[in-house]
């Protein structure tokens, strides 16, 4: 079984992004970029499944400009067997990402796709579920545990009311939640090895996908700031303050 893992290049999660004063977007110049943290978790899970002998190959797939090769090399260093970059300089909406991944799935004969549950830049959280819909296969979103056996995945999902366990037939799409695993650290020799691993570059046209963006972003604003608060010196003062504000009776 081949596993596809989606890799998105995003602003590093430690960076506090700033909105450009002209409202045209967020300032990305010189900002540190990384693999979307949820995608790292997805990749780690794929590697563990392969290491248990339940998959033959892990393929990291990214969509984006030339620079995304850096993140794909990191994915290879983590342990992916090979990588595919679908070159595209335009912003790609989740629906088009799903259509593109579906084309790769068809080409590669993928048995399991693991994606992050959301990317920490656009926070859309759509691609996995859309991909599953287009592929007409099961989805396990927000997975916190995955067991694969005899063509079936039994997975735990973090839902608002607790932990749900579902069973899906493979092929399927799984999206990773935070606690699915803790991704491994990349060691120096792995970085060297990754340089020799195959990284294929293709594009939308070759895959037969044409972008069909639906939304127009009219502007980007900074969020409203909360007014500066006050400090109290002890518990009685805190209680008095909260009563004064009417939030405690």
């Amino acid at each position: 079984m081949k596993i596809l893992v989606g890799v998105k290049r995003v602003v590093d999660y430690n960076v506090r992004v700033r909105v450009k004063p002209d409202g045209s977007g967020v300032a990305l110049d010189g900002v540190k970029m990384s693999i979307n943290p949820f995608d790292e978790i997805a990749l780690e899970e794929a590697l563990r499944i392969r290491e248990r002998g339940q998959a033959t190959e892990v393929i990291a797939v990214a969509i984006g400009p030339e620079e995304v090769q850096t993140q794909l090399r990191s994915a290879l260093a983590m342990g992916a067997d090979r990588a595919i970059l679908v070159k595209c300089d335009a912003a790609v909406e989740p629906r088009d990402v799903a259509r593109t991944l579906l084309a790769v799935i068809g080409q590669e004969g993928i048995g399991l796709a693991i994606l992050g549950k959301q990317a920490i830049d656009d926070d859309a959280g759509q691609t996995g579920q859309m991909l599953a819909a287009l592929w007409d296969r099961p989805q396990v979103s927000f997975a916190s545990k995955i067991d694969i056996k005899d063509g079936v995945a039994v997975a735990m999902r973090e839902v608002d009311s607790g932990i749900e366990t579902i069973e899906v037939d493979l092929p399927a799409v799984i999206t990773s939640d935070l606690r699915l695993n803790e991704p491994r650290y990349i060691k120096l020799p792995d970085i060297m090895k990754a340089k020799k691993k195959p990284l294929a570059i293709t594009d939308m046209a070759t895959l037969g996908v044409s972008l069909a963006p639906q939304f127009k972003v009219l502007k980007t604003d900074a969020p409203p700031q909360r007014a500066r608060g006050i400090m109290v010196k002890d518990v009685p003062e805190l209680v008095a303050e909260l009563k004064k504000r009417g939030v405690l009776s």
Binding site: R16, V26, A133, D160, R179, V235
Partner: protein, 313 residues
């Protein structure tokens, strides 16, 4: 005039808190009719709850046996059938809606607006990106069905007391057998629900252990508050994952939020920005949580929390 279809969130037994907030959001779209669809089995009790939300013109119940547990792969084809004739399809941006709606959008061949936080016009909306550190205004074409998850913290719940008609409808949709419910390990339901509670007491890593978290529960119980937690506290195993507040957990808007021993990572702050009053208790005066707190108290939580609990008795 347009029509809005809201897919009611539920856990198989009870109506979730998101539906009433979606109704408020739908009201801002200037729609002629707002229909609330309950896909459940049995659907009666959930539909009866849904019918009480004011502003709902009609409740549609789809009671197929396959709907006993809300599985996105099973519900989505039915929602697609129901969605014909509606300009908008909405659901709450909780795990129910986040799981289901992108699959619906995928089947419909359209995009989705996630976490819709304000309606600027019938086809123009605001939504947060980068954990709420930027807000974008997006426009969708007027002739494309708009599928959106609604950021529940941005809309007050529509009031109860209504009595919308309930209509049982069937859908002919073929349903997949490839996805099967196994079990739900439900959280303790004795306390107020985190997402809709007017008061929330949250604890962070500084609590140090699951045992120590008891002082958070004690304080919460004293004032009838729900309990929340930072990601660090959940990762450390102090509390179950459904208590996590933040970018990847729950986004909440209580009247009172008390952050105890939580440093205030950006990812946590995004989950609490809509709280009316934020109180921070932390021993580190430099903790970022104090930047957003309305009222701050620096000190040892193990002294402060029991004292606060006693004082509120």
């Amino acid at each position: 005039m347009s029509r809005v279809l809201i897919i009611a969130d539920h856990d198989g037994k009870r109506l979730g808190g998101g539906a009433a907030r979606c109704v408020t959001a739908a009201g801002k779209l200037g729609a002629a009719e707002i229909h609330l669809a309950v896909l459940a089995s049995p659907g009666g009790p959930i539909a009866a709850e849904a019918a009480q939300i004011t502003g709902v013109s009609k409740v549609l119940v789809v009671e197929r046996a396959e709907n006993a547990h809300p599985l996105a792969a099973v519900l989505a084809p039915q929602v697609v059938k129901l969605a014909a004739g509606y300009e908008y399809v909405l659901a709450a941006s909780n795990t129910f809606g986040k799981d289901l709606l992108p699959r619906v959008a995928g089947l419909l061949g359209v995009g989705q607006v996630s976490d819709l936080m304000s309606v600027e016009g019938p086809h123009t909306f605001k939504r947060p990106i980068y954990a709420g550190n930027a807000i974008i205004t997006v426009e969708s074409p007027a002739d494309v069905k708009l599928v959106a998850t609604v950021r529940t913290a941005s809309f007050a719940a529509a009031a109860g007391g209504g009595s919308a008609p309930i209509e049982v409808v069937g859908t002919e949709a073929a349903l997949p057998a490839h996805t099967r419910f196994v079990s739900l390990n439900a959280a303790n339901n004795d306390r107020p629900e985190l997402q809709s509670a007017p008061r929330v007491i949250s604890g962070g890593r500084a609590l140090g252990s699951a045992e120590n978290f008891k002082i958070i529960y004690a304080l919460a119980d004293r004032i009838g508050a729900a309990v929340g937690a930072s990601r660090a506290a959940v990762d450390a195993g102090y509390v179950p994952s459904d208590l996590q507040v933040g970018q990847t957990g729950k986004i909440i808007s209580p009247a009172l939020y008390v952050a105890i021993g939580i440093s205030g990572a950006i990812q946590h702050l995004t989950g609490i920005k809509d709280a009316r009053t934020i109180v921070a208790i932390n021993k580190d005066a430099e903790a970022p949580i104090f930047e957003v707190a309305d009222v701050g108290l620096i000190g040892d939580l193990f002294k402060i929390v029991p004292e606060l609990t006693a004082l509120l008795g």
